[in-house]
């Protein structure tokens, strides 16, 4: 019965009437979309923060070291061979050999026990291989695998992995990520409530129009349609506002972030939201707006429509 062009016309009519309504009530619209925009901007900004922290700590992975202590009887010659073999191992970026002699020299220079050390006939220190893992193989699980592989070598006495801080740090990141998720869910509920309340007031202010429309045979779906479009438009505008807020915050924070990075001798650029995140933001805004409008109109229009007696 309904041709495609008529379908388009009907929805076009609803969309235009919603858009026109928003424009005529610019102040009320502005208040609603600003609240919604702030609610959407907060999780987006937190997400951006977490991602930047994670990105920045990617550089720290080469600060993770594995110290391989060789057995005392292993000669410097063998240690050099092991260094070569280990350098070619998967997941290893570089291997530095600290010979027993070097280590002793260093210890003598730094500890102040020079005279006491002279009394020793043998060097008690072992040869040590300092391994730097490749940045793309620096996850706790990968490091653990590497540690076990090295430990199995007969020349190796023990392997020490400086990873505790990394585990803790990743745990903190994970905690933050979840906090962002919970915040997002709570604020999404807030967005639905704000849209729902605004649409509810709009429905009440247009009660006469709704009644007449139903009187002349307008279906409930027809009456609800413009309000649903209004909700989606609110969500779309709110998403744009949220994007604007986060972009402005990023610009405002960029100098401080650079200063901080420079203090650590690192190059660091504060990354903005990715295209994927923006897509999710826009989609979330529209879906939440629609949901709020659907809830409010299901409630309000069922009550106000004639024919319920």
């Amino acid at each position: 019965m309904a041709s495609v062009s008529n379908w388009t016309a009907r929805h076009g009519h609803a969309l235009i009437s919603s858009g026109g309504h928003l424009a005529r009530h610019a102040f009320a619209t502005a208040l609603t979309v600003i609240v919604m925009g702030l609610a959407l901007a907060l999780p987006l900004a937190l997400d951006m923060l977490v991602n930047n922290v994670r990105g920045a700590t990617g550089d720290f992975s080469d600060a993770v070291g594995i110290s391989v202590y060789l057995k005392n009887q292993v000669s410097e010659q063998t240690a050099k061979q092991l260094q070569q073999t280990l350098s070619g191992h998967a997941g290893v970026a570089s291997v530095t050999l600290i010979t027993a002699a070097q280590a002793l020299e260093e210890f003598r220079a730094q500890s102040g026990f020079g005279a006491a050390l002279d009394a020793l006939t043998d060097n008690p220190l072992p040869n040590v291989l300092a391994v730097r893992p490749a940045p793309d193989a620096a996850s706790p699980a990968q490091l653990e695998t590497l540690r076990r592989a090295i430990e199995a070598w007969p020349e190796v006495d023990s392997v020490q992995l400086d990873r505790d801080w990394l585990v803790r740090f990743n745990a903190i990141l994970e905690l933050m990520r979840r906090a962002v998720l919970i915040t997002a869910v709570l604020l999404a509920a807030g967005v639905i409530a704000v849209v729902g309340n605004t649409i509810r007031l709009e429905i009440r202010s247009r009660a006469a129009e709704i009644e007449v429309t139903q009187l002349v045979g307008g279906s409930r779906a027809f009456v609800r349609r413009p309000f649903l479009y209004t909700g989606v438009l609110y969500g779309l505008i709110a998403a744009a506002i949220a994007w604007g807020i986060v972009a402005a915050a990023r610009i405002a924070l960029a100098p401080s972030a650079q200063f901080l990075a420079a203090a650590y001798g690192q190059k660091f650029v504060l990354a903005g939201p990715s295209a994927e995140e923006l897509g999710i933001l826009i989609l979330a805004g529209m879906v939440l707006g629609w949901l709020g409008a659907a809830l409010a109109s299901a409630r309000e229009i069922a009550r106000s429509g004639p024919g319920n007696g």
Partner: protein, 221 residues
């Protein structure tokens, strides 16, 4: 077309507006519903337009038992009925054209067809050329005629009017009744509730007289 079989209507406040009411209006008839205020005229029209449902009894309108029609089909039922209210219920922020077009907009009517039929309806009530005016720019009589144009634009088989001349002087009231008569001449069943006895007598049409929600006279076989 319309058959009341022992219909009663009791409102939630406990008032019984209609008691054991039975009458029939055949297709193509024009009938006046008369009686004092509060006699139940508006209740009869509300039941016919399915703005209310009978508490007891059976009411068949246009082949549909209104007591049993599912809520989701009420809007389809109403598309076959033109409704004129005393206070005309126009949307004051929309021009005449949009008001009259509303019953067509809610259906899948093309813009071209809407344009043609709205002009035809306005022509019938003598308001062609006033499409772009707002209701407030019209006289009271003209506003009521816009309401009538809206009721007939979808060519309903049944036209119900609740005190359509209530706010009009005698001359305008006569004109409006003349309009209803012309729609009836082309086959539309017309039911008009009014307390204006002069107009009813002048028309010579059948009347159904209500008193305290019961019939008192005017029963047709």
């Amino acid at each position: 077309m319309i058959r009341f079989e022992r219909v009663s209507k009791r409102y939630p406040n406990g008032r019984e507006a209609l008691s054991d009411l039975s009458f029939e209006i055949t297709q193509g008839e024009m009938v006046f519903l008369t009686g004092r205020s509060g006699a139940g005229k508006s209740s009869v029209l509300k039941l016919i337009a399915l703005l209310e449902r009978p508490t007891r009894g059976i009411l068949v309108v246009n082949g549909e038992n209104t007591g049993k029609l599912p809520l989701r089909r009420v809007h389809l039922f109403r598309r076959h009925i033109g409704i004129v209210m005393q206070d005309h219920r126009l949307l004051m922020d929309r021009p005449v054209f949009d008001n009259v077009a509303l019953p067509l907009i809610v259906t899948d009517t093309s813009f071209k067809e809407i344009d043609r039929r709205v002009r035809a309806a306005l022509d019938q009530v003598g308001l062609l050329g006033k499409e772009r005016l707002l209701p407030l720019e019209l006289s009271v009589g003209e506003q009521q005629r816009v309401g009538i144009a809206r009721a007939i634009v979808s060519k309903p088989a049944l036209l119900v009017a609740d005190e359509p001349t209530g706010n009009l002087d005698a001359t305008l009231a006569g004109e409006v009744m003349g309009l209803f008569g012309r729609f009836n001449d082309v086959g539309v069943t017309v039911v008009v509730a009014t307390h204006d006895q002069h107009l009813v007598e002048a028309s010579g049409r059948r009347q159904i007289v209500l008193e305290d929600g019961r019939l008192t006279a005017g029963r047709a076989a």
